[in-house]
């Protein structure tokens, strides 16, 4: 179902979801031509991250992980400097020092990105503690995968967040439903004994909810409630958003297993063949959201096509910007170990 939003806002969500998708598709293609190092893509989770993070305001902080590209786009980061960072160029958000694993843009509310599993959890909780102690009504969002719940950092941090009733939202994107090593039907994620991931939070008295991460409305509602609670001093919330791992994510190196997304599959089922049929029909949140928008009749296919063209163009421009950007100056390697000293 669609979130209870004005048409303009819905279009904005669609636009960012498409940008996020095209961004990764171009990146995977680029990686076919040249060695750009290891990276993780967000395909299949757009329906979670984009509506969820659209509810944040400037000043709210988000702490993400190795699968971060979609999160940055959700909060308005530009494809150009993102690609530039992934390619190690001087024009990247971190001037080439972070790369895909540490892609961060402070101006968009991503102060630092940890790619150590669970590494983002304690700082996210700490930011909530900082806000609370500063008397601010800002919120801190911890963007974590289900694997992070296997880390001790989760347990220690959840306890602190619960004890102090911190304005923290744990948005756990559980994409393990088809992950490597899953014990089908036995556990919800690869190697976690808890039968419900939400139990791991609710045991601390943290308000917890499991939602369908492919359902934009469900995501939007759960996140809106969590943000409201956090802003009003009602404490932390844990949201488990269940998504399905995109078939292209199965190997260690992502590949365009389902091809470049053909948005016309949203309205023309005959384009869907036998391969990955369930993906195109049910599991791709982007196609699903597009279908819903068309069904409700907010706008026509032509508008979707227009949005896609513009989004694709924006992404490609970003990529050319990055490819045309210089590498950093050698001395850059020695800068920013320390912030300049005030003495």
């Amino acid at each position: 179902m669609l979130p209870d939003l004005e048409p303009d806002a819905l279009v904005a969500l669609l636009e960012r979801m498409i940008v996020a998708r095209r961004f990764e598709e171009e990146l995977i293609e680029l990686a076919g031509d040249r060695d750009i190092g290891h990276f993780h893509v967000y395909i299949g989770q757009e329906s979670t991250g984009i509506p969820a993070l659209s509810l944040l305001e400037p000043g709210d902080l988000s702490f993400t992980n190795h699968r971060n590209h979609g999160h940055l786009i959700a909060r308005g980061a530009e494809p150009g400097p993102m690609y530039a960072e992934i390619l190690g160029r001087a024009t990247g958000y971190c001037q080439g020092k972070g790369g895909t694993l540490h892609l961060a843009s402070a101006e968009h509310g991503f102060p630092t990105t940890s790619s150590a599993t669970g590494g983002c959890i304690p700082p996210a909780v700490g930011a909530g503690m900082g806000f609370q102690r500063l008397g601010s009504n800002r919120v801190s969002v911890c963007l974590m995968g289900d694997g992070a719940l296997e880390e001790g950092a989760w347990h220690e941090s959840a306890n602190i967040a619960a004890m102090e009733q911190l304005p923290v939202i744990f948005l756990c994107e559980n994409n393990s439903l088809e992950a490597l090593g899953q014990r089908a039907g036995e556990y919800p994620s690869s190697t976690m004994a808890a039968t419900e991931l939400t139990d791991l939070a609710s045991v601390f008295g943290i308000e917890s909810v499991a939602i369908d991460g492919l359902d934009v409305r469900a995501v939007h509602e759960a996140m809106a409630r969590a943000v409201h609670r956090a802003r009003n001093g009602e404490g932390p919330t844990f949201i488990e958003a269940r998504t399905v791992r995109w078939p292209g994510n199965r190997p260690i190196w992502p590949e365009l297993a389902t091809g470049k997304t053909d948005l016309s599959m949203a309205w023309d089922i005959s384009l869907i063949g036998a391969d990955h049929a369930s993906w195109y029909r049910e599991l791709d949140g982007l196609l699903g959201f597009t279908r819903e928008l068309l069904t409700v009749g907010f706008f026509s296919r032509d508008i979707v096509i227009d949005i896609d063209e513009l989004a694709t163009e924006r992404v490609r421009e970003g990529l050319s910007f990055a490819l045309g950007s210089p590498y950093p100056e050698p001395e850059e390697a020695l800068k920013h170990v320390f912030a300049s000293r005030g003495n």
Binding site: G88, K97, G98, L101, H102, S115, G118, G152, Y327, A333
Partner: protein
Amino acid sequence: MAETVRFIDAISSVLRREMERDDDVLILGEDVSYGGPFGATAGLSQSFGSTRIIDTPISEGAVMGLAVGAALSGHRPVVEVMFADFVTLAMDQLVNHAAKFRYMTDGQLSVPMTIRVQGGVGGSYGSQHSQSLEAWFLHVPGLKVVTPSSVKDAAGLLASAIRDDDPVVYLEHRGLYWTKGLVDLDDAPTPIGSAAVARSGSDVTVVAVSRMVDVALLASQKLALDGIEVEVLDLRSVAPIDWATIDESVRRTRRLVVVHEAVVTGGLGAELVAGVSATAFEALISPAVRVGGPSTPVPASPFLERLYTPDAEDVIAAVLETLSEL
């Protein structure tokens, strides 16, 4: 029978042979039954099953401690740490438990375990997946630390590590995984604590570890064209250090250069230079020189990565520096 194989395959083969040789050898790590991220354990689960090839959750601290507990109980676990940087999550179990049980119990307990740690710069992995942390491990009494540079030693040191009755940190540079070399798995394992003379020379001693051994050899080939004969020592064991071999070489060449990829400050090179300066002070006729990573985190950009990593030119410059001070 000697054959030419890749570094990573030598690791694989030794794991298999040691598991066949000793039923007490277990392998633990994330996704090891699928071969792990670089394929070191590929095919092992088919042969040995999930009772001995054990996939773990992403719980580095618990897994390290669990391996210690299994080792205390007579098993010989081999723990795979996917990236060296993640040892930070298991430091307490490694430093405060694995390394100390023999001593704290005055020899009553043994911790025969191997910690395979993959690390090093390359591939734009960035600050949290590229570190070389041998200096930390060297600083912890009770740990043995080895870091092979050749395929032969990759095999030989791993066999020694697994058979050793103490915790051995086995450091693998991922940049070496696809290099090839000749190895005979039936050869005696490489003893822990012995350096190798990778090239003989009389003018300058260059001590290198891991991937930097190849860099030092390349530099020494170039220098040989100018008539400068460099002796390259492949340290192989970071703890214990083979002081005798270093001392003998330095007393002959009277000059010392140390090369590693890790940060210079507080690094292995500091210990080597400090040690030689104390014991062979009068032999040195020019200051020792350290070549290594700068005091910065590892950057992601491939361009900055190349700047960060010492290359043959850096080693040549250091060698020439030791020769210029006469």
